[in-house]
């Protein structure tokens, strides 16, 4: 069980074949145009204007719509109207299967029910963050709790977020994963040896694990959490990439100029863990 896309869920269940999934995705890709192309198709921008915006985008990291407004090619109300139209025209993967005649509406509906049931544990947020925090911050805290339960069978409680300046010195190990794209947060999870060992044992399914396994398990756990955060963010329309997990030294400072929040995670009999996101 993990946060996943409906198409992937169907493939893993054997409800569709790889070829059918690719056919539906190709249909989606043809129908769900990027904003610039969509604006041209609807007559809000000319092809020449879009080329100029694309050229300008090479020099900035701004979104197409924002650039179009900034360059005076479209007004803010028109952009909002366009975004709304694009959202309404968006073809979901289930709809794509139906339109291509690959699945019937009944089957899609039945599979959606199963999908929602599969994803139910991930649907509700338990974490809160100060106003203005990156969405990935809340999602990271939330998924960490759920994965502790799912992977390590550890019931944990999440405390309030508080700012911190360094990785706790008493951590057995600390692992960092950086988000990029629509989030510039960094996920850092600090482990006691007991918790990291519990996770490693759970991964391997045997009672004996080496120190290398334990640290590997900590990295893998963070990789899974952040991969799931990507899925949550994607559902919100945000494209986020993650770096491979990297070890951090306990006691080291948070990168200068960045903010870090520490969520205390209380776990039964396994000590408290600090989750830090900067």
């Amino acid at each position: 069980m993990a946060v996943k896309f409906f198409g992937q869920f169907l493939l893993e269940r054997g409800a569709v074949t790889r070829e059918q999934l690719l056919e539906a995705v190709a249909y989606q890709e043809a129908k769900n145009l990027k904003l610039g192309d969509y604006a041209v198709s609807k007559g809000y921008l000319t092809a020449e204007q879009l080329t100029r915006i694309n050229d300008e985008q090479q020099r900035t990291d701004m979104r197409i719509g924002e650039l179009a407004v900034l360059m005076g090619m479209i007004t803010r109300p028109k952009l909002d109207e366009l975004l709304m139209m694009q959202k309404n025209d968006h073809v979901m993967i289930g709809e794509a299967f139906v339109r291509k005649g690959l699945l019937t509406p009944d089957v899609v509906e039945r599979e959606l029910v199963a999908f929602r049931e599969d994803q139910r544990p991930y649907a509700h947020s338990v974490a809160t963050a100060p106003e203005g925090s990156d969405d990935a911050v809340v999602a990271s805290a939330d998924i960490t709790m759920k994965m502790l339960q799912r992977v390590a069978h550890v019931e944990a409680k999440l405390g309030d977020a508080a700012p911190v300046e360094m990785i706790p010195t008493d951590a057995y190990c600390a692992v960092s994963v950086k988000f990029s794209g629509d989030s510039n947060s960094e996920y850092v999870l600090c482990f006691t040896r007991e918790l990291a060992a519990r996770i490693a044992v759970s991964f391997v399914g045997t009672t004996t694990v080496t120190d290398a396994d334990i640290k590997d398990g900590a990295r893998e756990f963070c990789n899974i959490v952040c991969g799931n955060v990507m899925a949550v963010m994607a559902r919100k329309g945000k494209a986020v990439e993650i770096s491979p997990p990297k070890d951090l030294m306990p006691g080291s400072s948070i990168t200068e100029g960045r903010k870090a929040l520490c969520y205390m995670i209380a776990t039964s009999a396994l000590g408290s863990q600090a989750l830090i996101i900067s």
Partner: protein, 122 residues
């Protein structure tokens, strides 16, 4: 009937151990090798000639997408299953399927699901 031979390519030794155990416990599959990056995966594919490859996507030196392309160029009938670090790597999984991967398994693994997916390969 002989067991199907499975090559695991994942930079995490722990994940490889976990998958190897799932395969062994099934009694139907035999883990025959472990590559820690795409390059090692290609070399092991060539030397071991496995029936199935389980391939992670995000790895150092050479990622899974490049490795899938290379393996499919070597043998267009290769049976590759993507190990998705999360369902979240939607676009990369689709890209891997376009390159020729047959299916996908998500972490954290559900042992039964892993075996079902591999058994479901044509």
């Amino acid at each position: 009937m002989s067991k199907k031979r499975v090559l695991i390519v994942d930079d995490s030794g722990l994940v490889a151990k976990q998958l190897a155990k799932i395969l062994e416990d099934s009694g139907e599959f035999e883990p025959v090798g472990h590559g820690q990056n795409g390059l090692e995966g290609i070399k092991l594919f060539t030397s071991l000639k496995p029936d199935v490859v389980l391939m992670d996507l995000v790895m150092p030196e050479m990622d899974g997408l490049q490795a899938i392309r290379s393996i499919m160029a070597l043998n267009k009938n290769a049976q590759i299953v993507v190990i998705s670090s999360a369902g979240g790597v939607g676009e990369k999984v689709v890209e891997a399927l376009k390159f020729g991967a047959r299916s996908v398994i998500s972490k954290p693994f559900d042992a039964q699901k892993v075996i079902e997916v591999i058994k479901g390969l044509a």
